[in-house]
């Protein structure tokens, strides 16, 4: 077990800087690798979504192109989308209309620059960090960039000059702003525990405590996950699209490849959020039951293993995204707002206070930041989860968006109904 002070000193000693050539080549290789894997992954995600939705609904899903699993379906879809006629409606604001799909997609991809995807590799040229840009601001950068994604949607809605598209864009703005706050607040306990915003050091902290943050900070994870669903516009929060109400929401006027940029950016956002969840709460590339942390490098084999672990965790969350989409119906708009402002935000704020107090108490007792520390936090969290999901969650989270009607109000409403049905016999219930 490593004490808190030891971790702190370990990180104040930076690795010796790499020679420029090694740095340049390794960065280019990492960029190309991340970009390729990410784009192919996003393409395959569309297939995964179709397959999983089919299985959940008792169907088989695409199986005509590329074998029984339909592995070439994304390629077929891509070819179809590129060959399609692209319409540019006369009433749109052309520059904005063209810009919006790019704006939706680029932030989702940028966020990957700071997510560490593997353990640092002790190569023969020096220690190479497995992250494209090892920014000291870490996830602050991620948060800032992912919230830019809303511009793509809002501009698409506005430039379309179409009331449905505009409504979709407006909804997405309101949704993003509401859930951004809860998301930011849910990450403060992570900072309290890690004492640093660099994602690699958050992974370190989880590895050295032998308990991942999902156990240390369960409620934070829950809030972050819900907010991530809202941020990516996935069901049950897909109000900006809302097929049944808004045709297709912000991308009503789009066609061909510009249209498919929006679904692609949705999947890209999904992958980014999943990677963030895996990193912040499930130990990132940390291989379970090992002592590996950021202070030392690893061999090539361990590097591959850690990358595999990271991908497995990310894929699991992507699966959860898809799974929930095909389970839950869409929220009503007022329910969405009341969940964000009246439930998640107060809960996150209260949780910050609780976690801060617990950390203060545990540090005061002199408990080392290790397994016991994690266990103590876990104990506190079990109690909190029980309170949240078994005592607080009694129709207060979602069901009556504006509070419950009192018995007097109900009696009055019933009386009105009865009186009306007497007046006009046809309209009675």
């Amino acid at each position: 077990m490593i004490s808190a002070s030891l971790i702190a000193t370990a990180h104040t000693l930076p690795d010796p800087p790499l020679p420029f050539g090694v740095f340049f080549i390794s960065t280019v290789v990492k960029m190309v690798a991340v970009f390729t894997v990410y784009m192919v992954g996003v393409a395959l995600l569309t297939l995964a979504e179709r397959k999983i939705s089919a299985w959940i609904q008792g169907r088989l899903g695409p199986n005509r192109v590329g074998g029984k699993l339909g592995l070439l379906q994304p390629a077929a879809d891509g070819v179809k989308n590129i060959m399609k006629e692209e319409t540019l409606p006369g009433h749109v604001n052309k520059p904005m209309f063209m810009l919006a799909p790019m704006l939706a997609f680029i932030p989702a991809m940028l966020a990957w620059a700071v997510i560490p995807f593997g353990a640092p590799w002790d190569s023969r040229w020096g220690r190479i960090q497995m992250v494209v840009a090892d920014l000291p601001v870490g996830f602050l950068f991620t948060l800032a960039i992912t919230s830019l994604g809303v511009y793509g949607i809002v501009i698409a809605g506005w430039a379309s000059n179409n009331k449905y598209a505009l409504l979709g864009g407006l909804r997405s703005t309101a949704q993003m702003i509401s859930y951004e706050i809860a998301m930011g607040m849910s990450l403060i306990p992570v900072l309290l525990l890690a004492g640093n915003v660099t994602l690699n050091q958050i992974i370190d902290q989880q590895a050295s405590m032998h308990t991942w943050n999902v156990l240390n900070l369960t409620i934070s994870f829950f809030i972050f996950m819900v907010a991530a669903f809202a941020e990516t516009n996935r069901l049950p929060f897909d109000l900006p699209e809302a097929e049944s109400e808004l045709i297709a929401g912000y991308h009503t006027e789009y066609s061909a490849m510009k249209f498919s940029m929006f679904p692609i950016s949705e999947y890209a956002n999904m992958a980014t959020s999943s990677a963030l969840m895996a990193t912040l709460f499930f130990g990132g590339w940390d291989i379970p039951f090992t002592q590996q942390d950021n202070t030392t490098g690893v061999s090539f084999f361990m590097l591959l293993l850690s990358i595999g672990i990271f991908m497995a965790k990310t894929l699991f969350f992507i699966f959860v995204f898809i799974w929930i989409r095909w389970t839950l119906p869409r929220f009503r708009y007022d329910q969405l707002m009341s969940l964000g402002w009246k439930f998640l935000l107060p809960m996150a704020l209260a949780y910050i206070v609780i976690v801060a107090s617990v950390i203060l108490v545990l540090d005061y007792i002199g408990l080392e930041r290790g397994f016991l520390y994690g266990l103590a936090m876990f104990g506190v969290n079990i109690v909190l989860v029980f309170i949240a999901f078994f005592i607080l969650d009694r129709g207060r989270i979602i069901s009556p968006a504006y509070g419950r009607a009192t018995p007097q109000q109900i009696a009055r409403l019933r009386a009105v109904t009865v009186a009306r049905s007497h007046l006009s016999p046809q309209s009675g219930d």
């Binding site: 008792g58 999901f389 009694r394 989270i397 009556p400 019933r414």
Partner: protein, 165 residues
């Protein structure tokens, strides 16, 4: 008229969103791993259709390959959609036969009256549903086309055997 809204007292004591969500997720997961899927792989495998299925028509023939139709004119008379065009003719022996027999399958409502009314058991509705054509004209079936059809024909409802067993 104002809307009559039914106001119900919600049983808040038992309501839980998180647990209901988890229950729903368990349900969908169970369906996902269930190997039984309902998809019919259409062009390769086809669903069996009812013996009383009424699809596009077929004219049955005698042993010599001639249409059984005697141009009695009952089917155009009974047809509620007025989709059968029949011009009767007569040969030297005085046998009646159809000079023109056309069915507009777009107009047809597939009631099967023509089959029921036919005294010679000549015209039938078929147990058949794959009817793609390159033009709308292709759906006006003439006598030649009706005779050339080979699909099985509908078994009409029999009062002696109402359940079709």
């Amino acid at each position: 008229m104002a809307i009559n809204v039914k106001v119900l007292d919600r049983p808040v004591g038992q309501v839980s969103y998180v647990r209901a969500t988890l229950k729903g997720m368990a349900m969908t997961f169970k369906h996902m791993i269930d190997p039984h899927k309902v998809t019919t792989q259409y062009p390769e495998e086809k669903e069996t259709i009812s013996k009383r299925w009424r699809g596009t028509h077929r004219m049955l023939t005698t042993e010599t390959g001639k249409a059984k139709c005697v141009a009695c004119g009952l089917c155009p008379t009974v047809c509620p959609a007025n989709c059968i065009k029949l011009v009767p003719g007569e040969d030297e022996q005085g046998n009646r036969y159809p000079l023109v027999f056309e069915i507009d399958e777009f107009r047809c409502i597939f009631c099967g009256y023509c089959q029921e009314v036919c005294p010679e058991e000549a015209i039938h509705v078929g147990r058949h549903y794959e009817n793609a054509e390159y033009s709308r004209d292709g759906f006006v079936y003439d006598l030649e086309r009706l005779v050339a059809q080979t699909h099985p024909v509908c078994e009409m409802w029999d009062p002696a055997d109402p359940k079709g067993e």
